[in-house]
Structure formats: structure tokens, C-alpha cells
């Protein structure tokens, strides 16, 4: 296929910016005419997928809309009704399908997500706090001037800084942000293990239509998309979830379980995720972290589970094995190629180093943003079948150790062998380590589509 038109695609879709601080603004549109004018004003601010070629910008701006937002912009009914059902319904109405119950139930979400008032997301990333502040001030000035939207809430997010340096750590202490999939035509530094597994054991990019609307997907079909084609093409869908982390619970649970586990605390922590806390895949280095592997792009995501069918190295239920099973289901991994998502996002809240007193009530967690062409086929399937259920992983009703909605009754099996340092072990009475605090489904349009909205040119005929 030909190269994608990077200037027509929002940059947020094509690449992780690697800009360490961010603020997400949630807007409510007051009326269609002024809101469309506002979008016209913002159009020149939106960061596209064009390559930076060395000159990294100080800050970036991207925009996405909820279905209610598009309704408020008075898009034609024939366009609005042609969106996939799950996007029209929104994440709150999909809670039963997603298993967002108990402590994750919508009634317990942050106030901004309990109503239907969020119409748009503005994502602003900065190279540092000053650049972020400056860009936010400029954007807020545009908002004020256009008077087309009110600011409902904003969310701060930031990489974890250790000794003044931005890291890819998250609050539980793991190094995060390894494998995102490669897609055909998307120009980036790719590494083995990030696309789809081929019969000869190499990795190839996934079909573009798994990420972007308007292109063939892994089944050779165009993803379900709104009409007209020009409006949908080069756009995608974004899932936004604010995931609160109960750090005190996590630390005390790990501490308590590791007194019983023969492999020691750090090994148990690695078994939970499938990576040692420095990011080394446990599949490649079962006995300890190895920074030479973790920092080598040719190796850090380049592994399969075929030789570990019993899970004695990486447990069957380890987080990364559940959500990206690679070849674990056989058939050279072909069963998972239509269930991949691209993750963006950053932690929020203050980082507490090991030993510092922490409370579950401390405001900290991760802003999880997933991009995919089909929310129901990709994100919702992963959440329902691989996070909240265990059958595909041959784990019966067990849920994902870290993200599962356990309510104190969960179980995580660590498979093992006969050696003293790798014994089989069962973690039971799992608490909820992560709680959902809200979120929504968004449509991230192309630059062309933003122009069509701004000028009132969306015509489904």
C-alpha cells in the first residue's frame, strides 16, 4: 500500500509523543454555530502526524469528540446514526459488557463522567511544565474568545520523574510503555514483537485498518465507519479511562504474599506482570532482570510463549500474556491480530518511592487511552474476555490479576516447576488493585474531517 498522508492524520494517532507532561481538557459545547467556529480556530493548532525530523515541538494539541458532542455540533442525522453502536452509546452505557461493576460502577465515577456533558477532549502535551502552561494558556484564550464551549474539567498527567529525569515507570514501580503494534504505512522506528507474528517467526506490521478508518483491516474489510467516507477516513476511535491505583493495597499484598512465595518478592512482582520491574520480559530472563535485554529494542518485545505452554516462565495469567497473547493460542498467533489496541497515556498523581508511606485514597493512577478502529471488536473484547475472564488463557473464571474487578475474591495462579526458586504458587483473595474513575469513547477525526465540521460540510449523501 502507499504511504499514508501523515499531514491529514492527527499526530496522536500515529505516534506516542514522548513528551512527559500533559493536560486533558474536557469541553462542553454551548451551541453549534459558535462551537463549529471554535473548531475552525483550533484547526491550525492541531498537531498532525508529519515527521518532526529532529525539531521536536515544545507542545502538541489534539482533539476528539464524544457522540453527544457530534450531536451538539448538529452533524446530519444520517452521519450520526452511521457510527458504530458502542460509540453512540458511550462507555457508561457499556458498563455491563465491560464488567465495570462494584467499585468500578459508573455511580462511583468522578463527577464529570457521571453525566452526559462531555462533548470533546483536548489533549495537550508539553516538553516541560512551562511549555505546557504556555500552550494551555493559548488554547484557553482561543476558547474564551470563540465562546463556543465551556471547560468542564481538566486532568493533569505526567511521566514519573526520578531525580529530575522523566521515566516510563508507573506507580506500582513497573517500567511501562513497551509494545505498541506496528501498522502498515505508519512510519516509525519499529522493533520485532510489535506487529503480527508470521509463520516463519518474523514480525510484520498489522493492516492499517486495525488502527485507521478507511483502510482494509486484517480481514481485508473496511472497518465500520460513519458516512461519508471522506469524514471517517484517517480517523480513529479512542477509549479514555482514568484508572486509579490502590498503591497501599498493592504494596501490602505483594509484601504479604512474598513471605510465602519461594522465589522472593521481586520475582513474584515479575510474575504478576510478565516483566521484571525494570521491564525485562520474564519469558526471556526468568531468573532476574537484565537491563541489557530491557533496553535493547531488538529484544525487549521480541519473544513468544510457544516454548512455555505451561507458563512456568511467564504465568498464563500474567498481565502482558493475557492482553497480548502473541502465539499462546496457537495458529502462529493469528487469533489475536484483530484484537490489538494502541495505547497512549500517562500516569497522574505524585510518585511515591518504595518505603514512602502511601494511602489508597491518594490521588494517583494512570490515564489509559487506547486507539482502535473498532471499539467493540478490539478494546471491548480485550477488556471483557482477556481482563475480566480467563477462558482463553485456560484459566476458567479467573480475571486479570492487576486490572480485574476482584472484589476480594480473585485468584492468580503462578505456574512453576520443581526448582526451589520457581515453585508453583496461588495468590488468593485478590483485592482490587485498580479502580475505574470514569472515561468515555471518543472519535478522533482526520484534519480534513475537522475542516468539514468547522465549515458545516459534512454531507452523508
Amino acid at each position: 500500500m502507499s504511504k499514508l498522508n501523515e499531514t491529514d492524520i492527527q499526530g496522536f494517532v500515529l505516534r506516542g509523543y514522548n513528551l512527559p507532561v500533559a493536560r486533558y481538557l474536557f469541553l462542553h459545547f454551548e451551541d453549534a454555530v459558535r462551537a463549529c467556529k471554535l473548531i475552525g480556530r483550533l484547526l491550525g493548532e492541531i498537531t498532525t502526524g508529519q515527521r518532526w525530523d529532529g525539531a521536536k515541538p515544545q507542545s502538541t494539541v489534539n482533539i476528539a469528540f464524544t457522540h453527544r458532542g457530534l450531536q451538539r455540533l448538529e452533524l446530519p442525522d444520517a452521519t450520526l446514526l452511521s457510527f458504530p453502536v458502542e460509540f453512540q452509546q458511550g462507555m457508561r452505557h457499556r458498563s455491563e459488557i465491560l464488567g465495570d461493576a462494584g467499585v468500578n460502577a459508573p455511580e462511583r465515577w468522578d463527577e464529570v463522567w457521571r453525566g452526559d456533558r462531555v462533548h470533546a477532549w483536548l489533549g495537550i502535551n508539553g516538553l516541560n511544565a512551562e511549555a505546557l502552561e504556555a500552550r494551555c494558556a493559548a488554547i484557553l484564550a482561543i476558547l474564551q474568545q470563540a465562546a463556543g464551549a465551556s471547560l468542564l474539567a481538566s486532568q493533569e498527567a505526567s511521566s514519573v520523574f526520578i531525580d529530575g529525569t522523566a521515566t516510563t515507570k508507573e506507580h506500582f514501580g513497573y517500567t511501562d510503555g513497551f509494545g505498541n503494534p506496528d501498522y502498515l504505512g505508519v512510519d516509525r522506528n519499529s522493533q520485532p514483537g510489535q506487529g503480527k507474528l508470521m509463520p516463519d517467526g518474523t514480525w510484520a506490521p498489522l493492516a492499517t485498518g486495525e488502527l485507521l478508518l478507511g483502510y482494509a483491516d486484517e480481514a481485508g474489510e473496511l472497518p465500520v465507519a460513519p458516512v461519508p467516507h471522506l469524514f471517517a477516513s484517517n480517523g480513529t476511535f479512542m477509549v479514555y479511562r482514568k484508572l486509579h491505583q490502590n498503591l497501599a493495597t498493592f504494596r501490602s499484598y505483594l509484601e504479604q504474599q512474598s513471605t510465602l512465595y519461594g522465589g522472593g518478592k521481586e520475582k513474584l512482582a515479575a510474575k504478576f506482570i510478565g516483566r521484571w520491574r525494570d521491564g525485562t520480559p520474564i519469558e526471556l530472563s526468568p531468573d532476574g532482570p537484565d537491563s541489557a535485554i530491557a533496553q535493547d529494542p531488538k529484544r525487549s518485545t521480541n519473544f513468544t510463549y510457544g516454548a512455555d505452554a505451561e507458563g512456568t516462565r511467564c504465568p498464563m495469567g500474567a498481565h502482558i500474556r493475557r492482553v497480548h497473547p502473541r502465539d499462546a493460542f496457537g495458529f502462529n498467533g493469528r487469533l489475536i491480530n484483530r484484537r490489538r489496541i494502541t495505547r497512549r497515556g500517562l500516569p497522574y498523581g505524585r510518585f511515591a518511592s518504595e518505603g514512602e508511606p502511601v494511602y489508597d485514597s491518594d490521588e494517583r493512577g494512570v490515564i489509559f487511552m487506547a486507539l482502535n478502529a473498532s471499539i467493540s471488536r478490539q478494546f471491548e473484547f480485550v477488556q471483557q474476555q482477556w481482563i475480566q475472564y480467563g477462558n482463553d488463557a485456560r484459566l476458567g473464571n479467573d480475571k486479570d490479576m492487576l486490572l480485574g474487578n476482584h472484589g476480594g475474591h480473585g485468584r492468580f495462579m503462578v505456574q512453576g516447576d520443581t526448582s526451589r526458586t520457581n515453585p508453583p504458587f496461588i495468590c488468593s483473595d485478590l483485592p482490587d488493585f485498580v479502580e475505574l474513575r470514569g472515561g468515555e469513547y471518543f472519535f478522533l477525526p482526520s484534519i480534513t474531517a475537522l475542516g468539514m465540521i468547522a465549515l458545516g460540510l459534512v454531507d452523508p449523501r
Partner: protein, 210 residues
Amino acid sequence: MPNKNGSVYGLTILSPIIDDEKATPSHDLQIRNYLAHLSTREQSPFAVAPGTHLARLVVMDDVIYVGMPACEEHLKSKYLVFESNLDGDLDDYLNGLAESMPELLDAIWQHCVGYPGAANRRAFVEYMKACQLDTTFFFAAVNDKSVPQTLRALQTQAAVADFIASHQGADPDSLQQEFIQFAAYLRAQPLPRPGSMGPPRDIKTGGRNE
């Protein structure tokens, strides 16, 4: 034996549904309505009747023409499809169904052409076998174990996992003692009821939800 895979029998029955334009609602809709309200899990009729691993009842209206380049074809009738993975001999199984759920069979199959009723046992078995298709290749979602063996295995697995989880790190002497007690307790447990071994899931899946 084309319908068998190890000890498991793969049964497929296609019964033509009565086509009567005067019937309102039509017979196929009446079957659909009845099936939509059937109980599942422990209350499923197939949990009550002996020997069923899993069963499926579905109304097949027609083959759907999807446009060129497919050629347009149609079935001669609407069919009730009954599929089951079962233990043992087919005659015994059909007799077991007729004995344990005759009202249910009649309520469903009364809408099918030539159905004699479950009360006439011989005619019932002959009718079902006349509607049978040789499967030759079927999806056996079970290993080569009977229903009671499978239920016992699930019970043992769950109990042993619980035992391990609650005894990790115990000293060897008390572990051995408690394991002996546990094994005796487990042996004395009655067989779980069919359909009872999966805890209810608090999540909506499948069909109309997705």
C-alpha cells in the same frame, strides 16, 4: 463410527418445521418463543436429563442469499436443529430424554412435521433417528470423559485449588494430616449437579449484547 469421537457421541438432528400459513404465530416463531424462555445452568432440561455434555437447539429458517457472486439457494423447509454431545449409546440417550422431559420435547417438537409424541417411546426414538444426520466431523468440547467423570474432575480441581491456596507455607506434618482429612472429605462429597460448576458471571456477553 462417524458420529463418535472416543466415547463421546455427536448427535445432529434436523426436524422439518410445519409450514401452515393459517397458524398464527407461525410454528417456527412458536418454537423460537419457547426456546427463548428455556432455563439454563442447573435448571436446564439437559441438566436434568442424563448424559448431556452440551446441547443446542436452534431454528434454521433458510440459507441467506448474500448477493453476487453467491448463487441463490433455499431450503425446502424451516428446520429445528438439535445438536448434542452425549455419553454412551444413542437409543439409551433418546429414551432418557423421553423419560425425563416428555412435556418439554412435546412442547418443542409438536411444531415439527410427523412428530409422534414422547409418550410412544418406540415411535419417538424412530422419529428422532429418521431425522438424524451423520455428523462425521463434529466439535467435541469435552475430553474423552463421561458427564459424571467431568463433574467429579471439576469438583476435585476447585477443591484442591482451594486447599492449596489456604495451606501454602504450612508445616509438613499438619499439611499431611489436613490433606488426609481433606481427601476423605472430598471422597464423601456427592457428585455436583450438572450445570452447577461455573460460578455465575457478572458480565453480559454474547448475542444481542454485542
